[in-house]
Symmetry: C2
Subunit: 326 residues, 2 copies
DNA sequence: CTGAAAGCGCTTACAG
DNA sequence: CTGAAAGCGCTTACAG
């Protein structure tokens, strides 16, 4: 069989011809319609199998007006926290008979907006956005084409878009309470982020410090070498970093400076990624309910597809995983 | 505007009606056909923009028989080596005016086969497989539907499928030569893999050891604690690990055992992932030409689409990146 | 320079 | 239980 013909897929018409029936009957048989006799269906299925028939999703989507595909957008592939959420979205989608097509923006803002368009042009039935870098006007425009759910925070809720996120303030409070219970008073917060989640963690830290009557010891610095040196010289005994990446940087810096962790300095991160488990000593970190996030995101999308019009914002409670670093 | 109507996208017909022309003219104008007067085109573009028209990729794909989409399949999202290759595939595709839809198998073999089917059913014009876990019969079947290029090794070349991969034997030889030049004689190889790339690295190690007249010192072990202990007790002064993950494990183990790296033990990895840079001390590692891999993969696909029928297998030369661990 | 018509591969009423 | 027909939103000869 020549390559060219090998590349032209058999269609319903081919199956129908081979089975000696009409193409509508083939369609009905393939989809398990009740009005097709058992014998006929089996014969048609066998023929379809024999000629190597695969239905064209493109044609089906065009006809039906829906694709049973969901789109997922993430900032970049190299953030294990985000990719784990995507994996849970995919699992939940699969459980609902939906498939997921994935796109990312390689950390580039404009590219993320392009990817959102691309997925919508492709005809996805809904969109899960696992990235805080998609501009809000792009989100709002996307929501006019298909239901959109945001996993994680935007600065303000975007009208028409559902969200599910972690309670960052509460996560930060868990860390401060843990460190205070371990006897730490001089607990600093290391953060380089001005994004919504980062800001919320910082607010949570500050509020928890005051609640623990440590308000005078509030100290927030960037994860830059000079700032960290000043911090360590200044008598800080514990650091709550905004995420595991920055916690790892703090850890490296402290070890390089000859400090023992956690004896001289306790370090706690956020997100509980593979980085936390790989660090030496292993990092305590705040764990978000990533698997629940994925299934809730898909559930919210399905509700929208079923007609819900009010916005829903779900907030999940995090928990602290204590390891050797604190 | 009610939600339902907001969700029904304007079509060519809507634009045509709004502009007072036929829908074929709109199509021609949008695609920049030469036979449309400048004034007419501008007017049509303005109307399309105004009504928020976006062409349906689904309809276009159905009509044209091609989608200008490439599919990319990877084993899982948590392997930075693979995701970096995918990023380079995407960049190369974009440069060719193609988009990429990404699918992964969460490390599950059967799921990978499903994803390959899904991408083909979706209508991708070609498939880049960045995973050695896709069964060869699945690859062969896929190639009957669309051009397929394998990035990385299969055990044997698969008929009808192009490939681009790194010269693993050569990479292993670079490591052995480097360590031998540093004065090491007892160089062990740590590997847990029986996959094609792992086997090739092992072969390369053994050949290079003999070439360096160190044939009597060839030692291959698994990255298990007991095996590593025996290795360290046995006078090994350098370890070449099959990849950065296993090199990190060796590193951790050695440091835990109180050894200094590289003074007591030199460690070298493979793939030059972020793990190598993040390790302490930073790991020497073999760097593959990941960016070139992506652009070559896309180029091979395009050649197939343009009619090439002979199989092409490209082999790229790796280079060694020396860091503190050796 | 512009329009009417056919057709990509499906699904879905509608007849029989 | 089965078939003929219309139509999803495009693109592309073909006329004019």
């Amino acid at each position: 069989m020549p390559a060219a013909s090998a590349r032209s897929r058999p269609t319903l018409v081919d199956v129908a011809a081979a089975a000696g029936v009409s193409k509508s009957l083939v369609s009905l048989a393939l989809r398990g319609d009740a009005g097709v006799s058992e014998r006929t269906r089996e014969r048609i299925l066998a023929v379809a199998e024999h000629v190597g028939y695969r239905p064209s999703l493109t044609a089906r989507t065009l006809k039906q007006g829906r694709s049973t595909m969901l789109g997922a957008v993430i900032s970049s592939l190299d953030n294990p926290y985000h990719t784990e959420i995507v994996a849970s979205v995919e699992q939940a989608a699969e459980d609902s008979g939906l498939s997921v097509v994935l796109a990312h923006g390689s950390r580039q803002r404009g590219r993320l907006a392009d990817r959102v368009q691309q997925l919508l042009d492709l005809g996805v039935d809904g969109l899960v956005v696992v990235s805080s870098w998609v501009p809000e006007d792009v989100l709002a425009a996307a929501a006019r084409r298909a239901p959109v759910v945001m996993v994680g925070r935007t600065a303000e809720p975007v009208a028409g878009i559902d969200s599910v996120n972690n309670d960052d303030e509460q996560g930060a409070a868990l860390v401060v309470e843990h460190l205070a219970a371990r006897g730490h008073a001089r607990i600093a917060h290391v953060t380089s982020s001005t994004r919504p989640a980062g800001r919320a963690r910082r607010r949570g830290y500050e509020a928890a410090m005051r609640a623990a009557r440590l308000g005078d010891e509030v100290r927030v610095v960037e994860p830059a070498p000079a700032a960290l040196d000043a911090l360590l010289d200044g008598g800080t005994t514990a650091v709550f970093a905004r995420n595991d990446v920055e916690a790892s940087d703090v850890l490296d810096h402290a070890l390089d400076a000859g400090l023992r962790v956690p004896a001289d300095l306790a370090v706690v991160g956020y997100d509980d990624t593979v980085l936390a488990r790989r660090a030496r000593p292993a990092l305590s970190s705040v764990q978000q309910q990533r698997d629940v996030m994925g299934s809730r995101a898909v559930a919210l999308l399905r509700e929208r597809l079923d007609g819900r019009v009010e916005d829903v914002h779900e907030v999940l409670q995090p928990r602290l995983v204590v390891r050797a670093s604190s």
